[in-house]
Subunit: 310 residues, 2 copies
């Protein structure tokens, strides 16, 4: 396909940034790839892995000549970087990001962008429990969704360019408002991570059950939660602090429902439990039908449970 | 290896019962396999799959001549079956089960077993989100743990025989008290399932987010919970009703911790969040090191995210 951006600048090169670099290079979506990262060890890995044409610690220089600048940072770091690159951006350049929250990104970045620069925030709903430039891979976005949340009045051609870019990376693209995005992701991503972190923390603090027992018998279901609870601490701290209202609202609903469920258990309401457990089963089938997860038992894990029936 | 039981009776033949039948046959652990199931459709599938030498709906007849009788039922069904088979059991026969709770099983089954019959309850900590005889497979127990909870004063040779049987099926064996088992499994299995069911239920009830959005953007973490929440409703209803005290105690701790975590978010305690998220990360590493889960990103799911880095 034709080159979408002659010069792409990635500010930050962890799991997401390095996956964009790999996929953009592999699918020949861009000309020159410039990576700026504040961490010397990350810059060394990016050079060793050959992920970029230019590697620097100077965000202003990296963004200065770019046709597209993508902030691939924990969302708490966006404001300072936007302030640093704003004055150096080319007229007509597109600024985007990959943050898991969007209203806060618009709040933090938009004020620093000069007239004539396009702002098309994005959130690729993809990732793994691993972090850093070595964790990325070119297929990370295949058949995942990338959500664009352009503020009112953005140039349609800039939105079209970012749509083409994400499709080129392998993703499906959806456009929605930043506020609605934050509400949807609170329930599909933020709260699931929060309760996973919380469950692992609760288990960790038990004095009646030793940690080795929790580890040994984790196949009963606990091990699933530990995967989400192994996700990047900095990224997730920033997600919760920057999507506070939506997360707290969803957690409040979750806690109310869990209290009602506990009450069913305490009072022996088997019918109520059975009804809920039957309803929830259907949601799994819909996710598999939508192509957003595998139907293989235990996700097709590579252990005894993942082998097929004989 | 030598035959451990000349005649094995499996009462109930769903995911676990049919996996025992497959593995016991494959590893030649037993002579004759008798399956009794109350469901005609299950009996038909067991015959079609060739899982047993004898298939019947008569539990008393099935258990009558068996050297080992394993109840592979939702734990709520054990008492009635134990009452039905008790008078027909051979002297020296071993009665076991596969229930996810153990104190309730001892309470429900032991009173119906005549003197001279050995009782060695077991819980294989293995399973998938699928149910029924077609869902089973011979490798289900490979490298998983099976927990034996024999009441005080059981014949050591009977405990040794069930230990050899489970090792023969591919599992590691641990022996502990029924009460402690129920406490450990409450946190490693029962509460993780309960909060997964609850999370999916909460998402299902939202009016501000449509279900199609929850499905579409589930890759953010929600899809993990939907797997646990697709587990067998009858089995799990019985688990919660029969491990009430331990589950409610663990849920109460979980709720307290979640309230504290919500408070950190509300008051912007980034350091507190970061500390917890860093602690929980270590638990994942321990589970992978113990061989109880795969280190592959996203469990090595067979989607774009599961492919290796390029």
């Amino acid at each position: 396909m034709t080159v979408l951006f002659n010069r792409l600048a990635l500010i930050g090169c962890g799991l997401i940034g390095s996956s964009i670099a790999r996929a953009a290079r592999k699918r020949r979506l861009v000309g020159t790839i410039v990576v700026a990262d504040a961490s010397e060890s990350v810059r060394e890995r990016v050079k060793a892995l050959g992920l970029a044409d230019v590697v620097t610690d100077d965000v202003a220089a990296a963004a200065g000549q770019a046709d597209c600048v993508i902030l691939c940072l924990p969302v708490g770091a966006n404001a300072a970087v936007a302030a640093a690159i704003g004055p150096h951006l080319k007229a007509g350049a597109i600024v985007s990001d990959v943050g898991s929250v969007k209203a806060a990104v618009v709040r933090d970045v938009a004020p620093h962008l000069p007239v004539g620069v396009h702002f098309v925030p994005a959130h690729p709903v993809a990732g793994t429990e691993y972090s850093g430039p070595d964790a990325g891979f070119a297929e990370l976005f295949d058949n995942r969704w990338s959500i664009l949340t352009p503020p009112e009045g953005q140039d349609p051609s800039a939105i079209a360019a970012m749509t083409a870019f994400w499709r080129g990376l392998g993703a499906n693209v959806e456009v929605m408002g930043a506020q609605h995005h934050d509400l949807v992701l609170a329930i599909t991503s933020h709260v699931p991570h929060l309760i996973a972190y919380n469950l692992v923390g609760t288990a960790y603090d038990l004095e009646t059950v030793v940690e080795s027992e929790v580890i040994t018998f984790s196949a009963g279901g606990f091990r699933d939660a530990t995967r989400l609870a192994a996700s990047d601490p900095t990224m997730w701290r920033d997600v919760f602090l920057n999507n506070r209202e939506a997360v707290l609202e969803m957690v409040a609903r979750f806690q109310e429902d869990l209290a009602a469920l506990s009450r069913m258990i305490r009072w022996g309401d088997g019918e109520g439990l059975f009804d809920l457990f039957t309803r929830t089963r259907a949601v799994r089938r819909s996710i598999i039908a939508s192509g957003q997860d595998t139907a293989a038992p235990n996700f097709g894990r590579s252990d005894g449970q993942a082998k097929s029936a004989d």
